[in-house]
Amino acid sequence: MARTLYDKLWDAHVVHTEPDGAALLYIDRHLVHEVTSPQAFEGLKLAGRAPWRTASILATPDHNIPTADRDKGIVDPVSRTQVETLDANCAEFGLTEFGMADPRQGIVHVIGPEQGFTLPGTTLVCGDSHTSTHGAFGALAFGIGTSEVEHVLATQCLWQKKSKTMLVKVEGQLGKGVTAKDIALDVIGRIGTAGGTGYAVEFGGSAIRALPMEGRMTLCNMAIEAGARAGMVAVDEKTLAYVKATPRAPKGENWDKAEAWWRTLVSDAGAAFDAILEIQAEDIRPQVTWGTSPEMVVSVGDKVPDPNNAPNAVKKSDWERALHYMGLAANTPIAEIPVDKVFIGSCTNSRIEDLREAAKVARWATGAGRKVAGNVKLAMVVPGSGLVKAQAEAEGLHKDFLAAGFEWRDPGCSMCLAMNADRLERASAVPRPRTATSKAARGRVGVPTWSARPWPPPRRFMDISLM
């Protein structure tokens, strides 16, 4: 029978199925960071257990890590304790950890693929919702809670019910300056933040196949913002080439064996999906969110929507609350909104390819005699990992950013969740800080935030912040 990619990944990992359909799935890969693991490790120790298979685990601190003056250590004692606890747990159980001083340290979802820890055909979990990122490699990857982290540590398995499948098919050629993130935001704008609930989403079609691995990761990363359990892309030549260049890629005979299997990790012709969404690539325009949820999204040339035009009363009040929170007036052209802070980073867009694109814009600005605008209080670039940072510096990208007036920081989650010191102070006076970042959620960084889609930032949007 014709099977979807999800079916194949699922079938390959079932250890046992209960009569009610609950399946015990074997987990190949487990990424661990400092925030969601301490109670899991403690639970393990209290029960006198140990990790089932230490080689399946890669740990790194990312959420609480300072992105400046790292040699001074972590100032906030609560953050410091979390990071030290991870160090101690990894040392105690002999787990591979890229600690704060390791050049390979970075955001879990950046270092997994970079190291070749993320591989096609694997099940991969992490105590973090954006684990869906790794599905870009033809893997089944999803986020889990702390008690499940403990469960995977102890048993190498998880109980799961099979999801429904959705195919998001994007055919055609993306317009100039339209990126993977625009596809993600466009999809979310169409189906809503709960549109993917209960589904494992496969992204397919010629526009997806044309995306580099970085773009596919961005897309799968955002699948969770549509409520999906997991996002994934079928294996092709690009997947294989990317993996082959990583330090942990299988070698020699193993590579051949792996490659043969990985090449089968595509949905069979005629495989049935529970839902299909077809999008014409040419219809996708650069997107920017204006509100407090990733589904509050319009294209850069549009205006902030008017609640009076909302499709229903619930949406109307949602929009009104969002506008109030953001300090925006309905019908304001997006391009006329001043930006207060710019943050280039997070697991959505902080890989080398993203930085190359952003650096192009910075170069263009400097060439035109422009810099980060005076009204922008902070503009920072936070690479996704130490290796991304080193690569960017080898290519001289940091000079482009610095010349344009950006700060060039050390790797971590930074302002995305703002658990470290990179917090936005909410101004009591208007204008409120507005930030261009990858996430748009009420209060996530403590202030109104825009998901300025990104890279490269829409010319006109960037004009505003680089004037």
Partner: protein, 212 residues
Amino acid sequence: MKPFTKHDGLVAPLDRANVDTDAIIPKQFLKSIKRSGFGPNAFDEWRYLDQGEPGKSNHDRPLNPDFVLNQARYQGASVLLARENFGCGSSREHAPWALEDYGFRVIIAPSFADIFFNNCFKNGILPIVLPAETVDRLFREAFVNEGYALTVDLAAQTIATPTGDRIAFDVDPERKNRLLNGLDDIGITLQFVDRIKAYETQRRQEAPWLFQ
């Protein structure tokens, strides 16, 4: 998880209704990276006269002499007698963690908040629902008789009073099985340990690169 079969313990009567999880463990303790060690801060606001903070030593804090758990006769209690809607409020699992760490293994009340009730089973605590009159009677006996203890037999689903009376109680069979055998979710999965190992052996052959 420790198995729960039979428990013989001193009773502490907490004569208040609607005790919420914030009373059981105040929110400032949730910043902790631990799930043990909450015992000294269980009922923190009632138990101490000053404000408790995570990381602050509890040894020299001023105790509230009026709080029932501070009375000499209830030291070492492991059976908590409570009133209706015990454990309401937030879903924090820190509440059963705190009670367990304090030493409670049985909580008897006329009713419990739902999530708290579930969380107790996950953490080796047996919550028992009894009719309000029966709970009333236990409160009276506990107040009158110093050293009042109960024997809870989970297999037989009975509580024995010091005078030899037996009170029957209900418990969900699946949960009873988990408690009796000390099975947590992980413990249950580990019943499949042979299958997991068999799968792993096969996977090691098919995808050896994942095991290097």
